[in-house]
Every structure is written in structure tokens, then in C-alpha cells.
């Protein structure tokens, strides 16, 4: 049956599914969204499986050959592909394994049965297929998810900030963690989470990825106070951004 509503599907690859759970949470407080779209596939929450969809949200990283085939199939079907969360957007936490030789990683976990388990370095989905939009974060921010969906429905550019977390943090009048002797990645990390970690006393770990042009856009006065350069702070960016750091290094070589 065609009710004229855009059909939306959710897919997951290697990830913790926390972003899909956050989607479930945000639908709870925005039930009106369910009137504007028709969800045809959401394995975590429903049995139905529709193969006819226009918007695909993809959660998780690509970590094996068979993932690539699935990703291409989704790309062929969908008009709009959205990377949902840090695993899909950046490679995220999964890319920490790229810091170790692959054979070693497999043997470490599966011992002499390692050959049974197919895997290669973790990549963001944008490394395999073209991605039209991304929703950053580990996990995503539920209000930002709603804003992005609304923008996609209106055909406008999703409103993802380009400035660093520090901007939001200062607006909230938090005590800067550098003043407490901690190191925070807020000066080079893309805002949009309302600086949730520093607001709860914890350092930003960079889950939303680097701001564009960090050399220009970084919060340099905060870094200067701590005597750190942009390059130095970026080298601490491994928890969620190992893939990006390794790509940058490869480009420089």
C-alpha cells in the first residue's frame, strides 16, 4: 500500500546498536515523526521487512567483505543514505582494532580457530559507498536525530554544527576541565551534543569527530592555556577517530 509517506529503513553493521536504541528513544518523545514517515525495516524493533525504501539509516562499521555487498545493495535501493552514529560516520570505537596487526587481533580473540572468522580493518560506511548525510556521536543525540530527519523530509541541508564542543560548553558555563588539570578533546571536536560529557564532569573523547579544518576552527585559546598545539591534541584522538588519523597519516606520506 502506498500512503505517500517516505519509506525509511534502518540497517546495522558492526556496532553496539546504541544508536538504534537512541532512535527508539527519540521516537518515543516525537511520535509525530511516525505520522510523517513509514518505517519499513527496523530489525531491532519489528518483524516486517520491506525492501522498498527511499531513506536508509545505516548504523555500524564495515568490517568484512560480506558487509560491502550488503552496503552496495542498500545504496542501489535508497535515494538517501544516512550514516547513523560514530561507527558508521567515523569507524568509531571499532577502528581501535586497526591499531593492531589484523592477524594478531583475530588470534587473540579466537586462538587457533581464527581462520573461521572473516574480518578486516574497520571502516566508516563512507569508505565503501557514497553517503548523503551523517548524524555524528557515540551514541547519536536524539534531538539532533529528529532535526536531521525533519531536514531530510523538507529537502534541506541537515543542520550539523561545524564549530567545536567548547562553544557549547562555554554557553553552559561549565568549569573548563583544563583548569582542573584534565585533558579534553572539546577544542577540536564537532559540537552538537550540547557538550554533554564536560557538563557531567567528564572529558570530551571526540566521539563526534574532528571539526572541519581544525587548524583554523579549533578553540585555540583553550589549547594555548594548556600549552597544547592542534596537532598534539589531535594525536589523542584515537578512541573514536583512529580511522581518520590513519588516513591523514597516509595522505601526508
Amino acid at each position: 500500500m502506498d500512503n505517500g509517506k517516505p519509506k525509511v529503513a534502518f540497517f546495522d553493521f558492526a556496532c553496539c546498536e546504541g544508536c538504534q536504541l537512541t532512535v527508539i528513544d527519540s521516537l518515543q518523545t516525537h511520535l509525530d515523526l511516525l505520522d510523517a514517515i513509514e518505517i519499513v525495516q527496523f530489525r531491532e524493533a519489528m518483524s516486517e521487512k520491506g525492501e522498498n525504501y527511499q531513506i536508509a539509516f545505516i548504523e555500524g562499521s564495515c568490517t568484512r567483505q560480506e558487509d560491502e555487498e550488503r552496503l552496495h545493495k542498500i545504496r542501489d535501493q535508497a535515494d538517501i543514505v544516512v550514516a547513523l552514529g560514530a561507527c558508521a560516520h567515523l569507524g568509531g570505537i571499532n577502528a581501535l582494532k586497526n591499531l593492531h596487526p589484523l592477524e594478531d587481533v583475530r588470534k587473540w580473540v579466537y586462538g587457533d580457530k581464527a581462520a573461521w572468522y572473516d574480518t578486516y580493518p574497520a571502516r566508516p560506511i563512507g569508505a565503501v559507498i557514497e553517503v548523503d548525510a551523517f548524524i555524528p556521536g557515540c551514541p547519536i543525540d536524539r534531538e539532533e536525530f529528529v532535526r536531521v530527519v525533519k531536514a531530510l523530509l523538507l529537502g534541506t541541508k541537515p543542520p550539523i554544527p561545524d564549530y567545536p564542543v567548547c562553544v557549547e560548553c562555554k554557553l553552559k558555563e561549565n568549569v573548563c576541565l583544563f583548569d582542573l588539570g584534565k585533558i579534553c578533546l572539546g577544542p577540536v571536536t564537532r559540537a552538537g551534543c550540547n557538550a554533554i560529557c564536560p557538563s557531567y564532569g567528564a572529558a570530551c573523547e571526540g566521539c563526534r569527530g574532528l571539526i572541519p579544518n581544525p587548524n583554523e576552527n579549533a578553540m585555540k585559546d583553550v589549547l594555548a592555556k594548556a600549552g597544547l598545539t592542534v596537532e598534539e591534541i589531535m594525536s589523542r584522538f584515537t578512541m573514536f577517530n583512529t580511522y581518520q588519523l590513519q588516513e591523514r597519516m597516509a595522505e601526508e606520506e
Binding site: F13, Q20, R64, R106, V109, A202
Partner: protein, 429 residues
């Protein structure tokens, strides 16, 4: 003679990817198993080289739904290793947040994932029309449990404020009071849930097995204690490997475990079987209403046991907040500790069952070895054993019904396969 071919690729309404494979030719069962097909993620390999301070934040990303459970088990291990003594306030807040996650996970599982099976729907969405009150109840409780976690840790999925030695944030007394008032209101929702789930036609099926959980002498155990089994065994947490005995199986990225029998079960039903007498009186009354008298041997009733635990956690959260408020809630710095080369095991009984994190640290507090054993893995062998006993009993039914019952059995275990597909390690020397 019956010929059946059930192949459910990616069972829906479970966390992660698993498939059911059934092949019956002329009444003879050739194949009957549940496979885990999730992409492995290799956490144990890549936490090596990371500092102790990052471990709970990294391992919480094993699972979005048990994020607090993983973070808490991880901190239990690290804090034991570093000799940290948590303050009373921090201990209470950890328990409170843990209860929030149990409620959050159980409401999601019972209402969003299991209830549609009984109410003839493919998901919770059509129930908004047909069972509006039940859906609104679930939404209300889900929001409450999420908010409970958020006032303590910033958010439920991957909490920000949990850190070695305690918290980086303290909730205000007003926030605690407001949440407590909502918890008191939620008693009516708990009563309604008990009535609803007590009225469901649970599939009839019995298979006795060994039930494994944590146990504490002074409370219904979720964080720490000893490992006990319904076959009468008891171990300190450090000896977890005597219980788990992991092995690789060729069709699954999850490793299987067994102890005194071929398989054992963990989770809400195992906890209820082992620790029933420590449930809050209201939760014990709920258990009686739901027909749960230990030892309960119908695995489908794991979901009913989750309803009982929700009642318990609502009541115990109200009590904990009373205790916090009467002591007075003060901002506290994390407890002090000394970083040194050590090793320790932490354990929590998370929504899906008992979970172990085992770390070795070098003198700089860098993790050199890690082992995590996840509840869903521990249930895999038991789920498969159940399937093998259930299938012959229902073989004469239509193929669709067989498929549906097997899917319901898988869902009863609440498998969180995204966890199970990587937290596995063969040898830990």
C-alpha cells in the same frame, strides 16, 4: 511424514544478528540450531594498550542496551585491581543507576519485543492503535528509567559520568526527589504490567537446566558477590573460568559455555530461581501472581521474571533514594588510588545475566590483557538444547507456527548478540 524447512535469517526483535536453522526430512530432524552471524568486533584485542581510565568508556560500547552494566563490571574489575574503596554514596548511586538500566532493558524487552508476539503484531507500532494504554505505559516507564540513568550518569547509553573511583558528577537532591515521585507513581504501572503478563498464554514447555547467577547474602545481587548455581555450586568471582569453560563452535561467532551439565542458563529467570527470597515483598507477590515458584524450568518465562525484576528495581530504587536523601547528597571527588601492575575480575548480573570483565594492567595502568564473558554467550548452548527438545514436541504443527514458536523461544532469552559476537577469548594465561 513431516518435512520442515525453517530458515529465519536475522531473527528480528532481538539485539544483533542471529539465525535459526531447522531442517526436518520425513519426520527426522537433520538440523536444528541457532547461529550467531554478527560481525565480530574484537574488543578484548583492542583494549590492549589503552589506559585504565578509558576501559569502562570503551567497553560500554560493547552493547548499547547494557552500557551501564558493562561500564559497572569494567569499573568493578579496575577498582578491585587498583584497590579502590568506593564511598557509601558512590556505591548507592552505582546501584541506583544499575536498577535504572534493568528497568530500561526489561521494559524494552517485555513490551516492545515480546508482547507483540502474544498480541499478534509484528512490532510495537501497530499496538499504538490496538493496545494504546499498554504502549503508553511502556513509553512512560522507559522514559522514567532513562531519566533515572541520565540524572546520575548524563545518559543511559554510554554514560559520561562513571569513572574509576566513583563519578565525575553528583545528582542534585531535587532531581532525586522528582525521580522518586515518578517511581512511586510507577507502582500503578508495575501492577498493571503484572496483570497484563499474568494474563498471557505462555507456551507450555519445560526443560530443567542449571541456573547460574551472582549471589549476595544481604541483597538481591546485581553488582558483585559470589557466583552460584542451582546445582549447588558456589565460586568466588575470580574463579569464573571454572563456571564458563568457553569453547568456539564453527557456525557461531559467539562462544559456548557449560558447567555441571551440557549447558546452563543465565538472566532474570536464573536470578529469580537462585535469589527469589531476596526480592522485595512486592516483587515476590508479583512472582506469585505470574506463577513463578522456583525452580521455574520454562525458559519462555524468562520474560515474566523480567517483569518481577522491574517491580523489585522500582521498589529498591525508591528505598535507595530515601537512603541517599537521609544521608544528604554531597558532591564528591572520585576515591583516591595508586596505579600499579595488577590484575582483577569484576562481575555484574546485567539484564541478560551474569557478566565478567577480567583485566591485567602493567605498572603504568595500561591494559595488557582483557577477557569479557557476556551473558548471551553463556545462554547459547542452553538455547540450542531447548530448541532440540522443543522441536520434536511441536513437529506436527504448521511450519509457520513452528517458526513462530522457535522465534519466540529465541526472543525469550533476550539475546544481545551484538555483545556476544566479540567478547570472547580462547586462552587467558
Amino acid at each position: 511424514m513431516t518435512t520442515l524447512n525453517v530458515n529465519v535469517h536475522h531473527v528480528t526483535r532481538v539485539e544483533g544478528h542471529g539465525s535459526i536453522v531447522v531442517d526436518v526430512k520425513n519426520g527426522e530432524i537433520k538440523e536444528c540450531r541457532f547461529e550467531v552471524v554478527e560481525a565480530p568486533r574484537f574488543f578484548e584485542a583492542f583494549v590492549r594498550g589503552r589506559p585504565y581510565s578509558e576501559l569502562s568508556h570503551i567497553t560500554s560500547r560493547i552493547c548499547g542496551i547494557c552500557a551501564v552494566g558493562h561500564a559497572t563490571a569494567s569499573l568493578e574489575a579496575t577498582e578491585k585491581a587498583m584497590g579502590v574503596q568506593l564511598t557509601e554514596q558512590a556505591t548507592l548511586l552505582r546501584k541506583l543507576m544499575f536498577h535504572g538500566e534493568i528497568i530500561d532493558s526489561h521494559i524494552l524487552h517485555t513490551y516492545y519485543l515480546v508482547a507483540p508476539d502474544f498480541l499478534g503484531a509484528g512490532s510495537v507500532i501497530p499496538l499504538i492503535e490496538t493496545h494504546r494504554d499498554a504502549v503508553l505505559l511502556a513509553l512512560r516507564v522507559k522514559k522514567l528509567s532513562g531519566d533515572l540513568c541520565a540524572i546520575i550518569g548524563g545518559r543511559h547509553t554510554h554514560p559520561c559520568a562513571l569513572t574509576v573511583g566513583g563519578f565525575t558528577h553528583t545528582p542534585g537532591e531535587r532531581e532525586l526527589r522528582e525521580i522518586q515521585a515518578r517511581l512511586v507513581d510507577a507502582r500503578a504501572d508495575m501492577d498493571a504490567s503484572v496483570d497484563l503478563f499474568a494474563s498471557l498464554p505462555w507456551p507450555e514447555f519445560e526443560r530443567e537446566t542449571e541456573y547460574v547467577s551472582l549471589h549476595k547474602d544481604d541483597e538481591y545481587a546485581f553488582i558483585g558477590g559470589t557466583v552460584v548455581t542451582s546445582d549447588g555450586f558456589s565460586y568466588p568471582i575470580e574463579d569464573y573460568k571454572q563456571v564458563t569453560n568457553e569453547e568456539c563452535v564453527p557456525f557461531s561467532t559467539a562462544k559456548w559455555t557449560h558447567h555441571n551439565r551440557d549447558a546452563y542458563m543465565v538472566g532474570a529467570l536464573a536470578r529469580l530461581n537462585n535469589n527469589h527470597d531476596q526480592l522485595h515483598p512486592r516483587a515476590q507477590a508479583a512472582a506469585a501472581k505470574l506463577g513463578l515458584r522456583p525452580i521455574v524450568t520454562n525458559p519462555f518465562l524468562n520474560s515474566a521474571a523480567q517483569v518481577v525484576e522491574m517491580v523489585h528495581c522500582v521498589e529498591d530504587s525508591i528505598r535507595i533514594i530515601d537512603e541517599l536523601l537521609s544521608r544528604g547528597v554531597q558532591p564528591e571527588a572520585p576515591a583516591p588510588f595508586k596505579v600499579e601492575a595488577t590484575e582483577a575480575v569484576g562481575s555484574c548480573d546485567v539484564p541478560r545475566g551474569i557478566l565478567f570483565h577480567h583485566y591485567v594492567y602493567d605498572e603504568d595502568g595500561i591494559c595488557t590483557r582483557a577477557n569479557c564473558i557476556i551473558p548471551t554467550n553463556q545462554n547459547m548452548a542452553n538455547l540450542n538444547a531447548d530448541m532440540k527438545v522443543l522441536l520434536p514436541q511441536i513437529l506436527d504443527r504448521p511450519q509457520d507456527e513452528v517458526r513462530h514458536l522457535l522465534e519466540m523461544l529465541v526472543r525469550a532469552y533476550d539475546p544481545c548478540i551484538s555483545c556476544s559476537a566479540h567478547c570472547l577469548k580462547v586462552e587467558f594465561v
